[in-house]
């Protein structure tokens, strides 16, 4: 049991570092056991620094950076022991365009082994999905559902860029 935990921990730590570096284009990311001699009773600390920065604690990171750091750990867990499915509710809300793109590519890869349900307002995330459900609220206060294609996704449901005037 301890052996299994240690193996999984190493694998998750490796995946965390690898996803973080993919999202940030480098940087430093480690998971550390607070008590390496007793992993079963240990805690797990997170060290994360975007490339070229020298921040000391996670709290100094920006909203988007925290989301990506969190998602890196999440994806590492999914890779180490593929959960059959994963539901993500607007986890990409704080990401800028370039990061939404990396996020979308990542879930696209992981979806080979894990089924995803993603609630999103971001176009790029919708583009990598295999199917789309559009939800709307009817006048009788009951939700209505439409199975959609990318071309059907209404403009009001998703965000616009600043420079396409």
């Amino acid at each position: 049991m301890q052996r299994k935990l240690e193996t999984t921990f190493k694998e998750v730590a490796k995946g965390f570092e690898s996803y973080f570096k993919m999202f940030f284009g480098g940087g430093h990311a480690r998971l550390r056991l607070t008590d390496p001699k007793h992993p079963m009773d240990s805690g797990v600390d997170i060290e994360a620094r975007p490339p070229g920065k020298r921040t000391k604690s996670l709290s100094q990171l920006s909203g988007g950076e925290k989301a990506l750091t969190s998602v890196s750990l999440l994806f590492a867990l999914l890779q180490a022991n593929p959960s059959p499915f994963c539901v993500l509710d607007e986890v990409d809300a704080m990401l800028d365009e370039a990061n939404v793109d990396r996020f979308a590519s990542a879930i696209h890869d992981i979806s080979q082994r894990t089924q995803f349900i993603v609630i999103t307002h971001n176009r790029r995330t919708i583009e990598v999905s295999d199917s789309i459900y559009g939800i709307s609220m009817a006048p009788d206060a009951a939700s209505r559902v439409l199975s959609m294609r990318l071309a059907d996704v209404p403009v009001e449901a998703v965000k616009k860029p600043g420079s396409q005037n």
């Binding site: 240990s42 805690g43 539901v87 609630i119 009951a142 939700s143």
Partner: protein, 165 residues
């Protein structure tokens, strides 16, 4: 194993019987604010035997049953059925499909059904635990909660990795 279908009936804003067919890849759920997207994630958490009302934004059972409107009467109960594809035998049940149903009434009682037969909440939990499908903090990330894994206590984070072990 993967999620095949999710049926909602009387669950939150889903007054009408609504069916979602999920493919094995990525399903995107889109729509305007307040249309019912997060309610779908709540339904999934709820049918899997979720006991944390806070995570599904409910204070009591009543809150997950369609409250009705001036144009439509309220529902007496909420019912969610999750159908899982089990052709790979991932779940220790001898059927190609496994259905889990939860029904909640205004009195606050919940009934569970496994492949149509009445079951205890405990049976559902044991089954899902065996299948590495759980209320694990990394399988369902709720809206506004993506950073939460960063603010877990180190011991809680170790537990998260233990779940993946």
């Amino acid at each position: 194993m993967y999620l095949k279908r999710l049926d909602l009936y009387g669950f939150k804003s889903f007054a009408s019987r609504t069916t979602f067919d999920f493919g094995q890849g990525i399903t995107a759920i889109v729509g305007p604010n307040g249309s019912g997207k997060s309610n779908i994630a709540d339904a999934l958490r709820w049918v899997l035997g979720g006991q944390s009302n806070k995570l599904i934004r409910a204070k009591k059972m009543e809150d997950v049953i369609f409250t009705g409107s001036s144009k439509r009467s309220r529902s007496d109960k909420a019912e969610v059925t999750l159908t899982l594809d089990n052709s790979d035998g991932w779940l220790p049940i001898d059927s190609e499909e496994v259905s889990i149903r939860r029904r909640g009434s205004r009195s606050g009682d919940s009934d569970y059904y496994l492949n149509g037969k009445k079951a205890k909440l405990r049976d559902i939990h044991v089954l899902l635990a065996t299948a590495s499908v759980s209320q694990s903090s990394y399988a369902i990330i709720g809206q506004g909660l993506v950073e939460s894994v960063l603010s877990l206590r180190p011991e809680e984070r170790r537990e998260m990795i233990e779940e993946a072990a």
